[in-house]
């Protein structure tokens, strides 16, 4: 009897608890982009189980279309225009988030295009590849909205762990193994540092939300433990964006990973790291600019200089692009080094730079892949005389390379320009010094970019084989997208407009 009563009582209590528990109101529209990606990645995984071996070719199409489908809610949300804040401020869908979600989805789509033939022809597991790729992209789209340390951390792991696996996808090649293991070990090490920093931040601020952290740390004076926390968190993300001196994994990983994944790491994954860094620096550490500025100044200068100087000595194009990416990361960091002194233009600059960088860097990797289909090599001399047997590829590669070097009217100049503009706007001695260092570095970078152009235009074909390069449809599409954007971003106001609207929702901004 008493047992029954107890059971009944328990049932009652459970009922009471169910009543007391209020399901948080979920704005499904706001979550739709991420949910579509979740749906597609499940679909890919299931389809892979039931598809016969000779029909696996539909998987990349499925993944690609899924990413484009996820763009639809992004566009409807943008058309709607209202900022949405979910889960008590941990997750925001504002203009900043939307622009970056679009960047991750479109660049993810281009990576799928790059992967299509490479993975199908290379005797690799296909279904799992696209599943992991989509999972990593999901981590990124979540990262764009994350306004809370825990959400940021989950998003970071979500995007990193699949990437560790993908980096080692060429498992029969020792270099592929090296790529995966190195990336994984360095990655978890950085995660450890980051997590330690985050725990200190939480201890100091008493909240995990960036806006709350911003308020809590703004009032406190400069305490060593706060500085330590800030340094640790920034260092953790410096690894992700491969800023010097946390860059050592990048060249080996880039060289050993499958080329589409190299493109993915150097563009999307790097952009995701910057997204988190920007959110932390602009919102969370808004009151700690005394610590953040010199730290980022140093990281920016070291990255652009060391990246450049080492890139000059590379003979492998993928490695060269890795180091050039490190140098470009320095340019993206530069406006953050004067954060707090220039208002909105930090965000505009970083977002504009990320958009343009994605277009031109993905383009360069696409050409590398197209040429490697014939020559089987990414060594710079193997591009000799490309203009004689593949003029379109050579011209496109020149466009991407000189865009990366920042030669107008190709997009890169505008990216560098907005970075310069943000830095000079700060109007301090340190800022001007940074601007001059940036100017000198942008000239040095021409050295290695032009070197590749020289090889393509001015040197003979190394083995005399001038047969055509067959470019598959997927790569042609990728070239068309990146090429058009690289030119259009340079002569129109699209990129800067997108950069300009990408602002944080008011309730979570400082």
């Amino acid at each position: 009897m008493s047992v029954l009563a107890t059971v009944a009582g328990l049932g009652h209590a459970a009922q009471a608890a169910r009543d007391a528990f209020e399901r948080p109101a979920v704005d499904w529209h706001a979550l739709a982009p991420d949910l579509v990606v979740v749906g597609v990645l499940c679909l890919v995984l299931v389809a892979d189980l039931f598809l016969p071996e000779d029909r696996k070719g539909v998987l990349p199409s499925l993944a690609g279309l899924g990413l484009l489908a996820a763009m639809v809610p992004v566009l409807t949300l943008a058309a709607d225009g209202t900022d949405r804040v979910l889960f008590g401020g941990a997750y925001a869908v504002d203009n900043f988030a939307l622009v970056l979600k679009a960047l991750f989805l479109v660049s993810g789509y281009v990576v799928v295009l790059l992967s299509t033939n490479y993975i199908a022809e290379g005797d690799y597991a296909e279904g799992e590849y696209y599943f992991l790729l989509l999972a990593s992209i999901l981590g990124m789209t979540v990262m764009a909205s994350a306004r809370d340390l825990v959400t940021i951390f989950v998003a970071l792991e979500m995007l990193s762990i699949p990437a560790y696996l993908l980096a080692g996808w060429r498992k029969r090649d020792p270099k592929g193994n090296e790529a995966g293991v190195k990336y994984y070990l360095m990655g978890v090490f950085a995660t450890g540092i980051l997590l330690y920093g985050m725990s200190l931040v939480y201890g100091l601020a008493g909240t995990t939300q960036l806006a709350g952290i911003g308020e809590a740390l703004a009032t406190g004076e400069s305490v060593p433990v706060i500085s330590l926390a800030v340094v640790l968190v920034v260092a953790g993300f410096a690894f992700k964006v491969s800023a010097v001196p946390f860059h050592t994994w990048a060249p080996d990983t880039y060289e050993g990973a499958p080329t589409p994944i190299t493109a993915f790491l150097s563009v999307s994954s790097k952009a995701a790291g910057f997204v988190a860094l920007v959110q932390l620096v602009v919102i969370g550490f808004a009151g700690q600019t005394e610590v953040v500025r010199p730290l980022l100044w140093l990281l920016a200068v070291l990255s652009m200089t060391v990246g450049n100087v080492v890139a000059l000595r590379q003979t492998n194009l993928v490695r060269m692009l890795a180091y050039s990416g490190i140098s470009q990361a320095g340019f993206i960091l530069a406006p953050l080094a004067v954060v707090g002194q220039i208002g909105e233009s930090t965000l505009t600059s970083v977002v504009t730079y990320l958009l343009i960088y994605a277009a031109m860097n993905l383009g360069a990797f696409t050409v590398v892949m197209a040429v490697a289909r014939k020559t089987g090599s990414a060594e710079i001399p193997s591009f000799g005389g490309l203009i004689t047997y593949a003029p379109s590829l050579a011209v496109l590669m020149s466009i991407f390379l000189f865009a990366l070097a920042g030669i107008p009217p190709l997009a890169g100049w505008l990216a560098k320009f907005v970075a310069f503009r943000a830095v000079v706007d700060a109007d301090t001695g340190w800022a001007y010094a940074l601007a001059v260092i940036m100017a000198i570095n942008s000239v040095i970078s021409l050295g290695y970019y032009a070197n590749v152009a020289r090889e393509m235009w001015m040197n003979p074909v190394p083995d005399g084989d001038t047969s055509r390069v067959r470019v598959p449809v997927s790569l042609t599409a990728a070239l068309a997208i990146t090429g058009l954007l690289t030119i259009a971003f340079g002569v129109t106001q699209w990129a800067t407009d997108l950069g300009d609207v990408a602002t944080f929702v008011a309730s979570v901004s400082p």
């Binding site: 505009t348 320009f417 100017a439 000198i440 050295g447 106001q493």
Partner: protein, 515 residues
């Protein structure tokens, strides 16, 4: 009236972008159809010249100091860059020069494209270059100016690097890196200017007004001018930034050298007169003695270097350093007289040195060498070619009656009485040094002519059949020769156009320094 309205609104834009459109069309034509490429390129260049000619004919010469054919549309709003274009008395002569030289270059290369041939790529690059040059001369917004200023780099890099001589790769990258270094710092200067002027605009006239009103402190002005000085000075090139020039000129294909000499070097001097002087008059006055000093060093250094050259093309390249020294001296006096001389110097040097590079190209093609001691007796082997060379050399050394004279003589004269409270003693010393420079110029050019054209052909070429000037060469050269003579006899062709604007610039500097 309708027609004129169309020209006013669209004339300049059409002129600037027609070559680019032509280049895009040519990309679609297969490479094997070489004749089609040549015809299309020439037609586009001539059409551009036609539109440009119509604009220049419609230009109101009664108001050369005001911008005409202006267009001011929003372009990249976030950074406040505008599509602001327009021409005045400073731009017109240089645009005319560009419109003339490019078609002539296409005609000249009709039947002899340098190795590795590929007329398609060569002509496409030439047309892109054309757009860049014209754009620089019409841009009235600093960002637009910067973009066009840089657009010329890529085609020139490839023209030198692909179609050039033995050391082409080295020369091409040297050219590129030097110029880019200057323009990177120039861009930082532009940005600093934008923030100190505080007018939320990159349009040149707005910035000039903003700087005057904001009372920007002296040190900042000097630094900003310094950045621009590097950018424009490397392009001119001013001694000691000239080292890229002899390499680039010597290694570039003939047409590349011609365009480099005729138009590209002018972008630097044009930048000084268009951007640096009007926007930062006070800094200009403080920098002027130093610019003048470097200019006269350039004059003497260039002349001495010429005397030491054994290669005809390299000699002419160094003579460019000396000639641009005169132009810079004219600018550094900050007087209307000196600035007019500078504009004249740009046009004259463009025609004459362009012509000399055409000639070295033709000599190289016939003798397969440009080593001065292996040449000789050009007048015997190819008399007409020899005469044209003589005519151009005379023009280059500043013989009165030919265009070169009107670039050098007024510049020297202007140094006698510099404007904007500059030290008379300093500039009179410069004047004397520059005058000595003209003697050197006569020396090296006459010596060059004597060694190459006079005498008898050297043994190795004694029995070689060498043809005289070809019809395509005549078509390319006659317009330039006629203009050299016409401007020499009647310099007002240029002065009448440039005077209004140059007087306005000089007056505004005097007012800024005096006030």
């Amino acid at each position: 009236m309708d027609n004129n309205q169309f020209l006013t609104d669209w004339g300049l834009t059409l002129m600037v972008f027609l070559p680019l459109a032509g280049a895009l069309v040519m990309l679609l034509i297969p490479r094997a159809e070489e004749t089609t490429h040549k015809v299309v390129a020439l037609a586009v260049a001539l059409a551009t010249a036609g539109i440009g000619g119509a604009v220049i004919a419609d230009f109101d010469y009664g108001a050369t100091d005001t911008l005409q054919f202006t267009v001011d549309e929003s372009w990249i709003e976030v950074i406040n860059a505008r599509y602001a274009i327009g021409i005045d008395g400073l731009a017109v002569p240089l645009i005319a020069l560009t419109l003339l030289v490019v078609p002539l270059c296409i005609i000249y290369s009709w039947n002899h494209f340098p190795e590795p041939r590929n007329p398609k790529a060569f002509l496409v690059l030439l047309l892109v270059l054309h757009t860049g040059m014209l754009g620089t001369f019409v841009a009235q917004d600093l960002i637009l100016f910067f973009v066009f200023f840089e657009v010329v780099l890529l085609p020139m890099y490839f023209l030198i690097g692909v179609w050039g001589g033995e050391q082409r790769q080295y020369a091409a990258i040297k050219f590129f890196l030097f110029t880019l270094f200057g323009s990177a710092l120039m861009l930082v200067s532009f940005l600093a200017l934008y923030f100190v002027a505080d007018v939320d605009s990159f349009v040149m006239s707005d910035l000039a007004r903003g700087v005057a009103e904001a009372g920007v402190d002296h040190r900042t002005q000097m630094l900003i001018f310094g950045g621009m000085f590097l950018g424009f000075g490397i392009k001119v090139p001013i001694f000691p930034f000239h080292t890229w020039l002899p390499d680039a000129h010597t290694q570039a294909p003939t047409v590349g050298s011609v365009i480099l000499a005729a138009v590209l070097l002018k972008l630097g001097t044009y930048g000084f007169v268009r951007v640096a002087l009007p926007i930062l008059p006070e800094a200009a006055a403080d920098w002027a003695p130093w610019i003048g000093l470097l200019a006269v060093i350039g004059i003497i250094y260039g002349a001495l270097a010429c005397l030491a050259q054994t290669d005809m093309k390299r000699l002419i390249a160094f003579s460019s350093v000396a000639h641009m020294g005169f132009t810079m001296l004219g600018i550094s006096t900050l007087t209307d007289f000196g600035l007019n001389a500078a504009v004249m110097g740009m046009v004259a040097h463009g025609l004459i040195t362009g012509m000399l590079f055409f000639l070295t190209g033709s000599v190289k093609e016939r003798w397969h060498t440009l080593e001065i001691r292996r040449l000789g007796g050009i007048l015997v082997k190819a008399p007409r070619l020899g005469w044209v060379l003589g005519f151009s050399a005379m023009a280059s050394l500043g013989l009165p009656g030919l265009a070169g004279f009107w670039g050098e003589f007024p510049a020297i004269l202007a140094a006698y009485e510099p404007g904007a409270d500059l030290s008379q003693t300093t500039f009179r010393v410069y004047m004397v040094v520059a005058a000595i420079g003209t003697v050197f110029a006569a020396g090296y050019l006459l010596w060059l002519y004597q060694r190459t054209a006079f005498g008898t052909p050297t043994e190795e070429f004694e029995h070689e059949e060498i043809h005289d000037v070809l019809p395509s060469e005549w078509i390319a050269w006659v317009p330039m020769l006629v203009l050299i003579l016409a401007i020499g006899i009647f310099p007002n062709i240029v002065f009448r156009v440039s005077d209004g604007q140059m007087t306005a610039v000089a007056q505004s500097i005097a007012a800024a320094v005096g006030g």
